[in-house]
Symmetry: C2
Subunit: 457 residues, 2 copies
């Protein structure tokens, strides 16, 4: 162990290498259950240093697990095979924001919310908005192609990455894409790197696309008697030529937990809840939110509240986030699975969840991004330490994922596969697609040093 | 030659294989200058047939050039090394349009405009709008990641491909992505295939994302005294929180040709022209187009026309398309290069074009998608048959591309590299990026049978 740290210290100097107990513990996990300590933590401060580490590790066949803010939900940055935890958290500079080109150039350790705020102050917009935006880093967003509620209108992280600098397993530094808003030069190396979960390279710089910030937004918060009515409202809103910036749904189990935690007075009535957000020019937004309110009322909402402007909308979003805390407040462990179904399957999904609940005895709460079918299904279990309960929980997850796959759904919409979903990876893709993954992995990381032990084994 | 055709006929039956003079001639070129006949044309009618052809060709090291509608602008589907021209034009069925899932499932030979119309009839929208949409096929759009004016707001083809079925060089049929609007399952195989110009696989089916069709649109057509004022208007519109669906610019050489061809009465006044299109809910669009008209007037436009609704807007687009015909009407050959510059470089680009014109004697006309910096630079030459003139033309292109690269621009925004831009490929990418392309190509097509002779050699 000392030998590895010594070798890395010789390469990079002592300020970059750590084997303190605290550092090893901190860098052994993310927000999921899996945990394994690295032998050494390297705090890289430049692409050149990342390149040095990888060249060395590749020559010596040492596992390297790239890490950013370590707030992922699937164990994606857990150093399962020990070796080097390669943190880029210190690379946290916004290098440039250039509005006339509509770009920001950032290092991977920049916190997503920090970039959003800096851009917002200038009247511009970086839309991807994962729930963890106050603590997650852009490098992690890129590694997982992070989403969020506003992806319905604005697209996921991939749609905002114009250019990347990434270091491959052999230490070579590749620049892909650039600072142009359109670019058809060669294969889509940027796209291949985005969402590759640290298995194909380490991103050391990104050029992100910025768009004009819509000056006004407004929201509706609507309660419905049944989930089917709320899901119908989703379809009817989209069918009326509206593309809201967000369309968020919650089911009765989520609402019940919220009533328990927050009180009935602030929790919307009914067995289903819908949030609709639109944005644009002030007068347009004022008119459109009225139109939408009429439409939603005509579709049977039993309570309806409106918010106009940033502050009022934030209050609605706060309530929405508290749904999640309400579930935690039950004292149960939330197995939060970010599955996706074709939008037409929303009602089937919630019916299935209800059946799963009654058959397994575990409460199941569904809420999330209804517009794109990306629903967070939360199976609530008392513990994961009791083997018998754990087994039943795993069986429930098996049923959920197999049903999602049978509907042509996706086992992950925004968190990635990591360790958490490795078990269903082979069911989720065809043998030829798996084989293609192996070929690409072998082409870019022939020794398999980058983030080993994850979904490709 | 007969032997190859016979072998393929034995595999596929006579109705799929052709060596007629007409077929060979038709399938030897696209809309660019390059031409080379294949030995055989195969008209595949299913993924299974495409797979049979590729398995056979791979085993026998026979070049295969995939083809759709053959209306590309860079010679991308010219069978430079003979062999098999593999046309998927007969695979032209729309298999499914399912609005509740927001998807269309298509075969690659479907004409882009046909899908758009079918979707539009149902009140929905497939946004990518390459200029050739009445004749280009979706498979070709996918192979080149086609764009168009509305990409500013709506993104390029890549943003609408949710799932693909593609056949790799060895005949294996890979399904990537699916029918979900969000999907983080594995690497982005869909993105890798989109824009790969027939060099990594042959797309046999695609699942495309549909969005609600905005019920109203409106446009402004504005003349300015100078290009700098029009480019400033582009920046100021975006800086005011508007993201128009299109922002198209044209320079004085384009306008002069239009006056010559169409007459001064219908051509906008001034030395620069700007088209602004917005879309959305009817009342919103009415209000916003007035706001934009005021803004554009305050920025010095010397003539301004408004269009409200589809029909009036189409008249503006028709005029815009006639700019292109006007250039052809000069009797000169239009070397149309779809370069991209960072948006802040628009004025520099047109200044450079003016200098190029005065130094080379070739007229240079610039028009295109100002919002994303994707400007079509047209160098107008009397002939490409006279070696001396051709050499001067090539030298002018060299200067253009090297300047674009020096500005961190892109040598192609929507047409691809193909044969036309092969010469500048190595200047446009770093050695490490080129090397990465070779590794990916070797991983998926180790024998190099797919579309050989293009930018990877």
């Amino acid at each position: 162990m000392a030998a590895l740290a010594d070798q890395l210290t010789a390469l990079l100097g002592p300020s970059r290498v750590s084997v303190t107990e605290t550092d090893l513990a901190t860098h052994s996990t993310d927000k999921w259950f899996a945990s394994n300590p690295p032998e050494v933590v390297v705090h890289a401060e430049s692409a050149a240093e990342v390149s040095e580490v990888l060249r060395f590790a590749n020559a010596n066949r040492i596992p390297v697990t790239p890490q950013g803010s370590r707030v992922g939900y699937v164990g994606g940055c857990v150093p399962l095979q020990g070796g080097i935890a390669l943190s880029v958290a210190r690379m946290n500079k916004i290098k440039e924001i250039t509005l006339e080109d509509g770009v920001a150039v950032i290092e991977p350790g920049v916190i997503t919310g920090h970039l959003q705020n800096e851009v917002r102050k200038l009247g511009w917009f970086y839309p991807p908005d994962p729930a963890s935006l106050k603590e997650c880093s852009l490098g992690g967003n890129i590694a997982t192609n992070a989403g969020g509620p506003r992806c319905l209108k604005y697209g996921v992280t991939r749609h905002y990455v114009l250019g990347l600098e990434a270091v491959l397993a052999d230490g070579s530094i590749v620049k892909a894409g650039g600072r142009c808003h359109k670019n058809k030069t060669g294969f889509d190396l940027v796209g291949l790197m985005v969402g590759s979960e640290g298995m194909l390279g380490v991103v050391t710089e990104a050029t992100l696309r910025l768009i004009p910030h819509p000056p006004m937004r407004a929201m509706l918060s609507a309660g419905f008697k049944s989930f089917a009515e709320a899901a119908n409202a989703v379809q009817r809103i989209l069918g009326s030529g509206f593309l809201p910036s967000a369309l968020e749904i919650a089911d009765k189990f989520t609402l019940r937990a919220a009533r328990e935690y927050l009180g009935a007075s602030v929790t919307p009535e009914g067995d289903a809840h819908l949030l609709v957000e639109i944005d644009g020019q002030p007068e347009s937004v004022k008119g459109e939110i009225e139109q939408l309110a009429k439409l939603v009322t005509s579709l049977g909402s039993i309570c309806l509240n409106k918010a106009m402007g940033d502050e009022a909308c934030e209050a609605f979003w706060k309530l929405r986030r508290e749904f999640s805390y309400s579930l935690r407040n039950t004292g149960l462990i939330k197995l939060n699975e970010d599955i996706v179904v074709p939008r037409g399957r929303l009602v089937d999904l919630v019916d299935f969840a209800e059946k799963l609940q009654s058959e397994t005895g575990f409460p199941v709460a569904c809420f999330g991004h209804a517009g794109d079918g990306n629903i967070h299904v939360n199976i609530m279990v008392p513990t994961m330490d009791d083997p018998a309960i754990r087994e039943r929980a795993e069986a429930a997850l098996d049923r959920l994922f197999h049903q999602v796959i049978a509907w042509n759904g996706a086992i992950t919409g925004e968190h990635g596969i990591g360790v958490a979903k490795k078990r269903w990876w082979r069911d989720a893709v065809s043998p030829a697609a798996h084989e293609t993954h192996l070929r690409l992995k072998a082409a870019l990381d022939p020794n398999g040093i980058l983030n080993p032990g994850k979904f490709l084994g």
